[in-house]
Point group: C2
Chain length 485, copies 2
Amino acid sequence: MSDGEQELGITESKQHSPGEWYAEVVRKAELADYAPMSGFIVTRPRGYALWEAIQERLDGWFKETGVENAYFPVFIPESYLQREKEVVEGFDPEVAWVTQGGHNQLEERLAVRPTSESIIAPYLSKWVRSHRDLPLRVNQWCSVVRWEATETKPFFRTKEFLWQEGHTAHRDEADAWDETMTRLEQYERVYEDVLAIPVLRGRKPEHDKFPGADTTTTVEALMPDGKSVQGGTSHYLGQHFAEAFDITYVDEDEEERVAHTTSWGLSWRALGALIMTHSDDQGLVLPPTVAPEQVVVVPIWQEENRKEVLEYGEELTAALREAGLRVEFDDRDERNPGFKFNEHELNGVPLRVEIGPHEVEDGEATLVHRPDGEKAVEDRAGIAETVEEHLETIYAKLYAAAEETLEENVRSASDRAELLGTIGRFGGYVRTPWCGDEECETAIKEEIAAEIVMVPLERDGEPEEDDCAICGEVATETAYFAKSY
Amino acid sequence: MSDGEQELGITESKQHSPGEWYAEVVRKAELADYAPMSGFIVTRPRGYALWEAIQERLDGWFKETGVENAYFPVFIPESYLQREKEVVEGFDPEVAWVTQGGHNQLEERLAVRPTSESIIAPYLSKWVRSHRDLPLRVNQWCSVVRWEATETKPFFRTKEFLWQEGHTAHRDEADAWDETMTRLEQYERVYEDVLAIPVLRGRKPEHDKFPGADTTTTVEALMPDGKSVQGGTSHYLGQHFAEAFDITYVDEDEEERVAHTTSWGLSWRALGALIMTHSDDQGLVLPPTVAPEQVVVVPIWQEENRKEVLEYGEELTAALREAGLRVEFDDRDERNPGFKFNEHELNGVPLRVEIGPHEVEDGEATLVHRPDGEKAVEDRAGIAETVEEHLETIYAKLYAAAEETLEENVRSASDRAELLGTIGRFGGYVRTPWCGDEECETAIKEEIAAEIVMVPLERDGEPEEDDCAICGEVATETAYFAKSY
């Protein structure tokens, strides 16, 4: 916070100007800055640490479930993208093109990777020979570039973003579908167990699938402004890519068979959802799971008790650190406690421990929860365990608040007027019977900019009880309409 | 190893055709494949795991010593590179240029980052206000692209390579120099304590410094073919970049001062050095520190004792895993022990544990060291501890062999003929008094393609005892000549 005191503190309102508020939190909590090129950001250490926290967990789960990391080139030759375009209907990404290398014009343009199916699939084809090579699972943590001309919103909409992309090949549909669901469940777990955000699991409607996918599954998170965020997607690609890129294997019976493939990705949009969901008009709010500092100990002294208070605070800090907690001891001389409180609130430290002469005298510590300011005076004895319990409570509070928002904001509508009215008035998700035709979505989109963000995962193919809320034909799906990021 | 048995095994000789041998080891041990674009590679899981092993350690040491990770854009506007070019003599990197975004021509070309000083320095300038903000240390793990048209050699010479780049700002020279040395020492530690490769520490001669640096320090590793590899560099940049990019701070006395900066990087060339140093005509050799599998347990059974042998092997494997070792239990039915031995040797598994009916009967296990085939029969009791000792021995053997090569290959020469003759005959490093003039290096380079890879770190400025071996003028430095990668 070197910009001086006047810059400290959030001036925008989450409720009244959510866009400006979000941008201000990102900047003032030092998560990211805008880059010189429009559409790009610089991820600062406090922001990157959050990405590392997600990465560490997800990467661990991937490895426990048979995934290996690899690294494929940042560039994809145009002919490779072209090949994908020819076989995959609807694939026409807007990309950044490298046309010059050094002082020379390149013979073939190179795309900066927008996603890597077209360069990974040929290698899966090369590496897979026998059924013994399957399942084959590779993942890479990297950045991708998509040249979409929209307003920049750090972590939500940027031309370059960080993500992981997993690509796998399997013997049959059952195995590939299991894989698809395993990754979707891990994404759900990231949101629910790490980011304190409940999500809905579903699949994208046919017309909104990943190009070439048989099924695109998604976890959707509801933001406080009533819009849905696509939190991560896991695609069962069927045999479409395997046929196009010749990913075949010799089975146990010596027959050559075409593999089934999947791909799945989660991007730093998860950070956007994290920041947006929990933070408030005092600044960033973080669950203790990912907070770079989980606890800040702030000593409050007068000249006459300075030494005792500082010593007490230091010992307490040491005890917390010994228990494996990430703790900052803020003994800066040049700042008063009020300034420190504000700064740590802005930065989203989940728990503040205040230590004054009273606490020293009584062998206690005052604990203050970041999300709601709840205070508790606790015994110094057993403080590490007590703090751990409070951190768990803080996580539970954040989750419960987000869950309540979600539960209150899934509504139903049975006709067009009710659908439009409900989205217009409340936002959130509106469930409605749907015939499956994209035109019915378009009709709603044009009127209120809401779309079908998902349909339930299980598809029984049976007609619904009610007719399509939009056109009145036989409904075959339950559509979840929402405005989205 | 799905390419079939005939493809298994190295056919080239490390001694007689080191280039072809290296390429074959990389490909057959499944470390990397060539990408469709010349100069690029695909890093396969077995190769990437080695990079992760380096990353995990180095990243841990960085964080313990005050470094935070961040992420800066993959693109740098031409005007930013231009600015650096104007202030930094000799900076004119060959880069890949993005000129089109989507269907539009860009107004300004964007370079794919060749290194990030020019985009990071302006942010250091923005983030540093007061002496309290210093030292400021950021690091990023990313890939960079340099459009150099040379023959591709996986991990040694590729147009895109993975690395980390650290960038720091400090109050004064002493602090910045400490930083420079801290990172150099961490690089030395990666080589010596993780990769089992002894290195020499030094600095680059004036004419070969990083453009804009005050001092470029380096760790140099000697390869078995007598060439030196620049293993990592740490630059003290003085105030050159800080002045150019306005990285200033208000000091305690309220005066505004110019910061001192450093940058330092280690790339996947470390993997190249690792593979090249220890591997042999049977394939990859890895130290246990980085080997994805440290131990492979191979059961050898006949039909009549199959059950006992497999059970014994499984239990032994479990015991090793419980001790935290990375162990593969190779109980494949379809491969015979000889095939398995060859395959694991090719893949560089440091220790093989053979389990046959004799071992079961006697409560023993036969341990075979990958580097030299040394065998030991050990008691089953306490096997985890015994295996750990053997792994340490294997590390020590690898280090000792590399150290012997290094020690035998630092020679001295006092005149031009001796210098040329020694390099020509033995390779390795040749120490010689040097006047400091680049022309003397050029003279040698033109005749034998050797250059000054380093001079000793400590510069006393005093004249040497002897005259320059090349021109006969007063020598001020001791030059280490070598051919290099």
